[in-house]
Symmetry: C2
Subunit: 387 residues, 2 copies
């Protein structure tokens, strides 16, 4: 099934190199997963992702459960056959989307009653059905069904979420019917260090194939997020992959890696591509700005992506202002390439024992000359679905 | 510059095989040109078009004049450098768009005063500026600035349009500054056979590198359109390419070719791709229909396009109903592949002396089993811009 191998530990931080071996892909970690909410990363084909070096993609179980339905996907041979993606797939359990997107009706220990954000229809999801859905979809990695608590929350509410997340994680394990898929547990605990530690211990005691840190990147400060990683990650077993859900911006990836995280997913590169906010080695290029209308340079002269090799800022500015959908595709391709390359360079730095230098060089490189600070004060919720 | 070579004449119709040689491409005719209104065919990259066998693309001068402006395009090195398309480009003059899309202020012999359909700004285009715009854009083939009359129209109005089209064509020729671009004249004349003949004679007397039949496919019946071709094409010189503007559906391509037309352009394949109406060897597949939700077959089992080789109707149905932009891209790729292949098969039939059989087989093949008659009663105007 899935094997994780820890290959190298950074001496100056908790950053580590590893490899995740699955039947469909071998993933060098730390790794970033693009998000294909309803199957595709918006506007891209599987070949596009493959060409950028991605071999592991996230699909949203909640969205696919509602449309086209997990049973349709199963009938069509599972997600890989349905979408044409030959790499590995991780599906989230839907827990986060139900709590953030659907109209919530009722949460009990039994499960969650909610209304679809599309047509208002009522659904009831239990830990067992969350697993059934993910087994039907046929993901390589499934996620346990967790209770994600909206922040800020009182200690009682967070504690109740931690208790229920443990209970549901046990039922997810017990509910498995297939043996060819990995299952990750999800640590909750809000911004309470004690509850984070407790949740991590609850889950590690159950023995999952990997562990995710959930309930973060939902609007809290970066300091709070990093602080929760500082207390949570040390509780997780060294020999299993660690996944920080819904994160993030490049600086979050560096900070997560430095705290021992191996896997990330986020809609940031694709969503920012759609809104014309382009990542470069020197900061953000906001392509709609008039200054780019006659700029013959590529998005990033230091980037080797197919978009930068071929198209000018002027053309991308034209496509964006004229609302040409090709612009969305090209912007998304560039941003995802940036993220793929960013992780590759980060892995190389760890391998060479120069991760600290990489981190410092990154912060130095993000000059403000391009009109936007890297440590932006965006308080958007990056963990919503990409739709 | 541009050379046309007539290679073979069909014995049973006016269909003919030819070759259009330009510095950037050699085009086998009859040929279909995809439409890239503002540069790209919506959602596609130049490589996509190239892979389908297209080497000649239409761009709209009117749209590019308004956004990003022909001077910006010229500064960026012309359309080929700006858009990354290495094949040949034909630009229309903007005449049709001004008459169909802009808010028209005033037409005089001097030119046309109109308001932009985007921001209402006022512009004045003369035959000379239409050529200046197209020379700035750097198309391989330019079109003369013509007056396209809305149908139905009185004989007086059509006659005035024919007179003005001749006058403007002369001024277009006189206004040329570059010698590396071809210029085609456009025959007008509404649905009046005499005026069509007169317009064709007006233009051929001036000696253009090619001749277009304009002012058709604007809502008239197919019988009327074919009738106008019957009287117009015989007036055009055998040794020059003939281009039927804004046409059309597969049956129109067959009927145009059988009447001696060499070139076509139309938004039908791309626009129908966006609305999920997919061309197949047996008629149209309307992908949103519920019958395709669990249909594992490709759009067309007889099609060899990359979409049919890889994706099911069920997946394309899912992408369409979930409004995933990848669906638009895949549908457009399939439809354009169909058109490219359709023209290739038509050329092969002419070469083999079996064009009549090809034509008959086409009409027989378009069964109604797929829910839509091929000779549809759509009275849509296929000649609007693709936006």
């Amino acid at each position: 099934m899935m094997q994780y191998r820890l290959r190298q530990q950074d001496l100056c931080s908790n950053a580590r190199l590893g490899q995740l071996r699955m039947s469909r892909a071998v993933i060098d970690t730390p790794a970033f997963m693009p998000v294909g909410t309803l199957g595709p990363v918006k506007g891209l084909e599987p070949e596009d992702l493959h060409a950028m070096g991605f071999r592991l993609l996230l699909n949203n179980a909640y969205h696919l459960y509602l449309r086209p339905g997990h049973k349709v996907v199963a009938e069509m041979g599972g997600l890989h056959a349905f979408t044409g993606w030959s790499g590995a797939i991780l599906t989230d359990s839907g827990g986060f989307q139900i709590f953030s997107l659907a109209k919530l009706c009722k949460v009990t220990d039994e499960g969650v009653m909610f209304q679809s954000h599309i047509d208002g229809s009522t659904h009831f999801i239990t830990p067992e059905t969350a697993i059934e859905i993910q087994e039907s979809l046929g993901a390589d990695i499934m996620m346990a069904f967790d209770q994600c608590v909206a922040l800020p929350a009182s200690r009682d509410v967070v504690e109740e979420g931690v208790r229920r997340t443990k209970l549901w994680a046990e039922r997810c394990q017990a509910g498995r019917r297939r043996s060819d898929q990995a299952l990750f547990g999800i640590v909750q605990g809000g911004l309470d260090p004690d509850l984070r530690v407790q949740s991590a211990r609850d889950l590690t005691a159950m023995g999952f194939e990997g562990y995710a840190v959930g309930g973060l990147s939902v609007g809290e400060s970066k300091a709070d997020m990093y602080g929760m990683l500082d207390v949570t990650v040390p509780e997780l077993p060294e020999g299993k992959p660690r996944y920080l859900m819904g994160v993030g911006h490049p600086e979050d990836l560096i900070e997560g890696v430095s705290r021992g995280i191996d896997m990330f997913d986020c809609v940031v590169p694709s969503r920012h591509g759609r809104t014309g906010s382009l990542f470069t080695t020197k900061g953000r290029v906001v392509i709609k700005q008039a200054q780019y209308a006659r700029d013959e340079r590529p998005i990033d002269p230091d980037c080797g992506c197919p978009v930068c090799l071929k198209y000018s800022r002027a053309y991308l500015h034209h496509l964006f202002t004229a609302k040409e959908m090709l612009g969305v595709r090209l912007n998304t391709l560039h941003n995802l390439w940036y993220f793929s390359d960013f992780m590759r360079r980060m892995r190389a730095a760890i391998a060479q024992g120069s991760f600290s230098e990489f981190r410092e060089a990154f912060y130095r490189s993000q000059e403000r000359e391009l009109g936007e600070s890297v440590v932006s004060s965006e308080h958007e919720n990056d963990r919503t679905q990409d739709s």
